[in-house]
């Protein structure tokens, strides 16, 4: 379907897009520090991060819209660092769609097609429009379409010249929640159908998790972690990723004891996490859905808590709990636990009630202490 795809010669290292040691500065503000990443042919990679983390800047550098201070960009085994956008052979879809309002939908899609006869171009445009399911809207103007339809026209327009790389800059964030969810799978399907290598910038973690093959998580101009969605969720390598993707409880001010044992307040907790850290200060983390009510008094990793509040969320309820010392006194730490509605009925977590909870060792993650990490950042 996509003639350019066939001619893509993967390099020996198997990457179609390579970003090498990108450094970008705006005045004194450092937007990107030493970013390197590779995208395999046909892969869908999402760049995820909070606003101001440099994700859009990275996309603009890959597109050639912004010059980097140092580092290089390779596309299809060719160094395109000094190539203007026109020479990079990519299609780009913006948050604002940037559809030409005075041209009909077909003319918009045809805009980038310049080879072939008028009939051939129209045929190609119609082909792209039926791909995005808008063949019946071909003669309308963009203003007569809904937001989701406009987004799909923008996608069709970007894909019509058969680009070897598709860049999506927050493509769904201007849309309603419902339309956004539907378009996620549609865009993903089209991408897989064409096999076009795609990089998408988003601040919405759900979007990234559901659509991408791999996710780049960024913060403050740094690449924090780059891996598959499941891996990212299950084994974050640093507290930022752990806290940014999904919900996470942090137990700070922990001290490493001998072996796999960690002291938190006056509890000793076991963990299977890799504790090859030099310092003895560390931080534990666990997701709310992994915390369980302790059933057996013989359970290891038991902690006493007092129920602080209960938030009903439909199929689950999130219980906010204040951690108690083993001696029974209140501490300043809070934990959140997700309970299925059946478990809620059994447990009856009324506010103020004291409970014992269990933190499974195989779900307990360990990190450097956050304070220490911050000090490292500053250096």
């Amino acid at each position: 379907m996509n003639e350019n795809m066939a001619s893509q010669q993967p390099r020996t290292d198997g990457y179609f897009v390579e970003v090498n040691g990108i450094f970008k500065q705006f005045g004194t503000f450092i937007a990107l520090r030493d970013i390197s990443m590779g995208v395999r042919p046909g892969e869908f990679v999402s760049i995820l991060g909070p606003s101001g983390c440099g994700k859009t800047t990275l996309l603009r550098i890959i597109a050639g819209l912004e010059p980097q201070n140092s580092g290089s960009v390779w596309i299809a085994g060719r160094d395109v660092s000094r190539e203007p956008i026109a020479g990079r052979g990519l299609g780009i879809v913006f948050q604002s769609y940037a559809l030409f309002p005075n041209l009909s939908v077909t003319r918009n899609v045809q805009y980038g097609l310049r080879s072939g006869s008028a009939a051939q171009r129209r045929l190609r445009a119609m082909e792209m429009l039926s791909l995005v399911g808008l063949a019946d809207q071909a003669d309308k103007y963009p203003a007569q379409l809904s937001g989701g339809q406009q987004q799909r026209v923008a996608l069709a327009r970007a894909l019509a010249p058969s680009p070897s790389l598709l860049l999506l800059d927050e493509p769904l964030s201007a849309l309603d929640a419902r339309v956004r969810i539907r378009l996620r799978s549609e865009i993903r399907n089209i991408q897989q159908q064409l096999g076009v290598t795609t990089i998408m910038v988003t601040h919405d973690q759900e979007e990234a998790l559901t659509m991408a093959d791999r996710i780049v998580v960024m913060d403050h101009g740094r690449l924090m972690q780059y891996s598959e969605p499941r891996h990212l969720y299950a084994s974050p390598t640093n507290p930022f990723v752990a806290g940014f993707i999904g919900a996470m409880n942090f137990l700070p001010d922990c001290r490493r004891m001998d072996g796999q044992s960690i002291r938190f307040l006056d509890y000793h907790l076991d963990t299977v996490a890799d504790l090859s850290v030099d310092s003895i200060e560390c931080m534990l983390a666990i997701r709310p859905e992994h915390i369980r009510a302790a059933t057996d008094t013989a359970d290891a990793n038991r902690i006493g808590v007092r129920v602080h509040s209960v938030e009903f969320r439909g199929s689950v309820s999130r219980i906010r709990m204040q951690v108690l010392y083993a001696s029974g006194a209140l501490s300043a730490h809070y934990l959140e636990m997700d309970l299925q509605s059946k478990a809620v009925e059994q447990l009856k977590p009324d506010i103020g009630r004291h409970l014992d909870i269990h933190l499974p060792a195989n779900h307990l993650l360990a990190f450097h202490d956050a304070e220490q990490e911050r000090r490292e950042y500053a250096a």
Binding site: T12, D13, Y15, E18, N20, G21, Q25, S36, M37, G38, A63, G64, L65, P67, Q68, N69, S70, G71, S72, W74, D79, S81, R82, E83, P84, I85, A86, G87, R88, L90, G91, I92, F94, S96, Y97, A98, F100, P101, N102, L103, Y111, G112, R114, Y141, P142, A143, Q144, R157, A158, P161, R214, R222, L223, M224, Q225, Y226, S227, H231, T237, N238
Partner: protein, 685 residues
């Protein structure tokens, strides 16, 4: 932080250029764009900067006769241009018996000492908790500064003789200040009535308020003469029919000029203020009312602050226009001299180009100050209105609507009177005797004034030349302005060049038409330039322009450039800023997107710019009065000349032709926009 997926075997690259940015290779289109931007800057340099430098040059040089011994032993005199520094300015201010150096020194001392005095005093009052010693120190320094400022000022004043010219500078200042006060006040309440009350006939009121834009300023003078002049309707008590109503306002001089300038500056002030008043968030008023604020408190805490920038803009515009206007003072000024007329007299009457240039610079100084102040103020004016603002929808309030209705309609009638009394008079055979002595002059209505027989100025030839000039200005100006605005606003790269282009594009707003005209006379007349420090002469490559239609068109484009440029820029900024990027990513050349997308979407703005150029060029007299030739007579210049010769009725008739042509063009522009909007309704929201 190493990524999970270590990127082994990535190609290493030698990167980084000299200044630490990886520069992109330039494409052919990039080069074309940069060349076009450079051209856009270059023509503004030739059209604005070089002529202005020439004015400075003229003001600081004098032609001095030099006596030499000729070869045959007899005396020989030839004229040599010499640098005279500020001599012309000192002559202008009537300073005698004082050297230039001490004049400049004392002037700097006065200004510096006064500024320091004020700043120190303010700083001192802001934090008074200083120790005893610094108390005395501050007071001592303040006394010293005050003494120095007074001494220097006294020194300059003691050498100042009487000068007629300094009187006209003060007169101009007075006219500017009083006109600004009156016009901005009227315009504010008029605009308030149009936007914040529910009075009737808003559409009509708006149109009437904008009508003066179509007329040359001489027309306001002529109308005032017909109403309040020696034999005016009011002065003579309706031609002696209602003698008890006779009332002489002492028109010729200050009163007349201020009245005419008020009519002249009312429309732009009204436009600026009504835009400012319209763009206000209704939710702020709801919030203020819900907190229990009365209308007076709301007015001072919500209304005025939200139109602050518009108000300042209106003040600057009114001041600049009335301070530099030439047409109205020429007609009703009498013996009340103003700077603009002085320049005309110095250059056209006395052929004293050096002094003309000097007065131009003095005329330019306050205008430049106002321009700079406006720029500084407007830079802070962002984010007054957000995208979520809710527009105001005024509800009827009987007394308020009655009050504003009366005010607006009275003002509108006054505007109509100032516009069309002269028009009415142009159809009268023998004003005022056809009315006062019908037994001697039985014929009342006539078209003979429109024949322009036995009057100077060029008659219909002048009118048609003006039409041609305005058409060329409209076409050429629109193409150049819109393309330049697009290049400066929508291209990437060449950052510095685009900034320079923007700066050059807004400079013409600070230049009065007279100054542009006189600068062009100097610059395009010079046979050549000698480069400084080397004795090398280059011929002036633009000298052929002098006395042609091209220079008239050029001066008009420059004169009205900034407003058009800003209109285009505003329209362009409303477009999605990614249009160019999307096209480029698909390798579509920039001119293709410009013609297929940008121009069609901005079409109404393009028409608006063209109409503005046409209308302004028809009505203007200030720049072209120095540049027209007998082969190319112009309608507005003809008005001045006919009025000078006493052919008032013919002058009024010519004004009416100008107004008529302008209204026709404006209607045509509206018609085109209407058809365009109808045809493109499908893709407009």
């Amino acid at each position: 932080m190493p990524p999970d997926d270590p990127l082994a075997g990535l190609a290493m690259l030698p990167f980084s250029s000299g200044d630490g940015v990886v520069r992109q290779r330039s494409s052919l289109h990039g080069w074309i764009q940069r060349t076009l931007i450079a051209l856009a800057c270059l023509w503004l340099v030739v059209g604005v900067l070089l002529p202005m430098i020439e004015v400075l040059n003229q003001a600081t040089h004098r032609e001095v006769p030099v006596h030499t011994e000729a070869s045959d032993g007899g005396p020989h005199v030839h004229v040599q241009r010499q640098f005279v520094g500020l001599a012309n300015f000192m002559q202008y201010f009537g300073l005698e018996g004082i050297s230039q150096a001490s004049f400049v020194l004392e002037l700097i001392l006065t200004i510096a000492a006064t500024t320091l005095f004020v700043r120190l005093l303010l700083a001192y009052f802001k934090r008074r908790d200083t120790s005893r010693l610094s108390h005395r120190l501050v007071v001592g320094v303040l006394l010293l500064l005050a003494a120095q400022a007074l001494r220097s000022a006294h020194f300059i004043a003691s050498h100042g003789g009487h000068s007629n010219l300094i009187q006209s500078a003060l007169n101009s200042l007075m006219v500017g200040l009083i006109t600004t006060t009156i016009a901005v006040t009227l315009a504010f309440f008029y605009a308030y009535g149009l936007t914040r009350t529910s009075i009737r006939g808003k559409m009509l009121l708006r149109i009437v308020a904008l009508l003066p834009l179509f007329a040359p300023t001489m027309l306001f003078g002529l109308s005032l003469v017909y109403m309040f002049g020696n034999k005016g309707i009011v002065t003579s008590g309706f031609f002696g029919k209602l003698p008890w109503l006779a009332f002489d306002i002492n028109l010729y001089g200050f009163n007349g000029i201020v009245m005419a300038e008020t009519a002249f500056t009312f429309p732009p002030a009204m436009m600026i203020l009504s835009v400012a008043l319209m763009h206000t968030d209704a939710r702020m008023y709801e919030a203020a009312r819900s907190l229990g604020a009365g209308w007076l408190r709301i007015f001072f805490t919500v209304t005025l602050p939200s139109v602050k920038y518009g108000l300042l803009s209106a003040v600057f515009v009114c001041f600049t226009l009335s301070f530099t206007d030439f047409g109205a003072p020429k007609v009703v000024g009498g013996r009340f001299n103003v700077l603009a007329v002085d320049i005309y007299k110095q250059v056209v009457g006395q052929q004293n180009f050096g002094m003309g240039a000097t007065v131009s610079i003095i005329l330019l100084a306050p205008t430049l100050l106002a321009f700079a102040a406006d720029r500084i103020v407007q830079r802070r004016s962002h984010a007054v209105l957000t995208a979520r603002s809710v527009p105001m929808a005024p509800e009827p309030v009987f007394w308020r609507d009655l009050l504003f209705g009366t005010f607006c309609w009275t003002t509108a009638l006054a505007v109509l009177a100032v516009l069309f009394t002269a028009g009415l008079a142009s159809f009268v055979a023998m004003w005022p005797y056809s009315f006062s002595h019908p037994e001697i002059y039985p014929k009342l209505w006539t078209l003979s004034n429109y024949l322009f027989a036995n009057v100077g100025g060029g008659g219909y030839n002048a009118f048609f030349t003006s039409l041609r000039m305005s058409a060329w200005t409209a076409v050429g100006g629109t193409v150049v302005t819109f393309a330049s605005a697009w290049l400066i606003e929508k291209t990437q790269g060449a950052e510095r060049l685009r900034q320079a282009g923007y700066l050059l594009s807004i400079t013409p707003l600070a230049l009065p038409g007279l100054v542009i005209g006189i600068a062009y006379v100097f610059f395009f007349n010079r046979p050549g330039f000698s480069l400084p420090f080397v004795s090398f002469q280059i011929a002036n490559p633009f000298v052929w322009l002098y006395g042609t239609m091209a220079i008239l068109v050029l001066s008009n484009i420059i004169h009205f450039y900034t407003v058009s440029f800003l209109t285009a820029t505003t329209a362009l900024r409303q477009l999605d800023k990614e249009f160019e990027v999307v096209s480029e990513s698909m390798s579509v050349p920039f001119y293709s997107t410009f013609l297929r997308v940008t121009v069609p979407i901005c079409f109404p703005a393009v028409i608006e710019i063209a109409a503005y150029y046409f209308v302004s060029s028809m009505a203007t007299v200030s720049a072209v009065i120095f540049l027209y030739t007998s082969r190319l007579p112009l309608a507005s210049v003809a008005v001045v000349n006919m009025d000078d010769a006493g052919d008032t009725a013919a002058a009024a008739a010519m004004c009416m032709l100008i107004v008529g042509a302008n209204i026709a063009v404006r209607l045509a522009a509206e018609g085109i926009c209407w058809v365009f909007n109808r045809k493109t309704r499908a893709w407009r929201k």
